[in-house]
């Protein structure tokens, strides 16, 4: 169910079924997060954002111009380096993965972390948008598993 900007109700109007469905039925359902996950442990040595052997996870939904996006995973590195998980947007919007909304950890040798980051993406073009997780390292080999992305397409 897609989000519609909440309307201003007018004295004396007759609410139609279409209006009630959009604002009473669909909008509350749009408050439910859309999620996807990829559990598989995979690696990259790329220092620029890339897909892993199994791309994603990815979520496609209809948005206005803003959405909340959450990325989370368990990550480690072959040495003392940083691992990063971010997301790119495609479809109505073209937005490359960026460190501005990344989740990242710095691992000391074989140490590992489970973490998350939520940000509000305000650079969307209204329409069908696909949010795809992307990954990179600063050096060495970064490993990512239990990878999750969730999007709440409200606002904008």
């Amino acid at each position: 169910m897609s989000w519609t900007a909440p309307r201003t109700w007018v004295a004396g109007e007759v609410p139609t079924a279409a209006i009630m469905n959009a604002h009473i039925r669909d909008n509350p359902q749009a408050l439910i997060w859309s999620e996807a996950d990829v559990q598989t442990s995979q690696t990259t040595t790329s220092t620029s954002y890339t897909d892993l052997a199994t791309s994603g996870p990815a979520v496609t939904l209809t948005t206005l111009t803003a959405a909340y996006v959450m990325v989370a995973c368990w990550m480690s590195n072959s040495a003392s380096n940083r691992n990063a998980m971010s997301y790119a947007v495609s479809g109505a919007t073209t937005l490359a993965a960026s460190d501005t909304w990344m989740m990242s950890t710095f691992n000391y040798n074989i140490g590992a972390f489970q973490s998350m980051r939520i940000s509000r993406q305000v650079a969307l073009t209204a329409g069908s948008n696909t949010f795809t997780a992307k990954y990179r390292t600063t050096a060495g080999t970064s490993t990512f598993q239990r990878r999750r992305i969730a999007v709440l397409g409200v606002g904008g």
Binding site: A11, H23, S115, V154
Partner: protein, 161 residues
């Protein structure tokens, strides 16, 4: 648009545009939350919570007595085993100081300058209903220089109280 505790509709009542605007339009809009971000990388050596050279981010919203708060940043400390902490202070209708507890994003660096990007989500209770300003505050806590960038705050002023 301010959040109102969702009303209980009564059989046979006249549903007015005022009720629909308050309980449908305004309450749904409240779920957008209010968001602010400061991308500039800045630092502090303070062992108590302070503003950075660019204060904030800060968000002002009308709340009841609780709100959901997200903090996010990329952060580090240049000294091994030292901290970088981003907290939130509340002012306006309510006065609550920042604190290094469940209301903060906390890093204790394993060694110098190891950097993390993550988020913290919590429910702020104990608010006085009205206009409240949530302002990010920062500290190196014990020593070293704590640096923060891409500092983001989101406040969603919804609750049942």
């Amino acid at each position: 648009m301010a959040w109102t505790v969702p009303r209980t509709w009564v059989a046979g009542e006249m549903v007015t545009h005022t009720l629909l605007n308050q309980d449908v339009r305004d309450n749904q809009t409240a779920f957008f939350g209010s968001r602010a971000i400061v991308t500039t990388s800045e630092s502090t050596t303070s062992t108590v919570f302070v503003d950075l050279a660019t204060s904030g981010p800060a968000v002002t919203v009308t709340t009841l007595t609780e709100a959901f708060v997200w903090l996010g940043a990329t952060y580090n400390n240049n000294s091994a085993t030292r901290h970088a902490i981003m907290g939130v202070a509340v002012s306006g209708a309510t006065t609550i100081a920042a604190s290094a507890d469940h209301r903060a994003l906390i890093l204790r660096a394993y060694f110098a300058s190891c950097q993390f990007s993550s988020a913290k989500f919590f429910k702020q209770t104990g608010l006085t209903a009205g206009s409240n300003t949530f302002t990010a505050k920062y500290t190196a806590f014990d020593a070293g220089t704590a640096a923060f960038q891409d500092r983001e705050m989101i406040v969603i002023p919804v609750g049942l109280l």
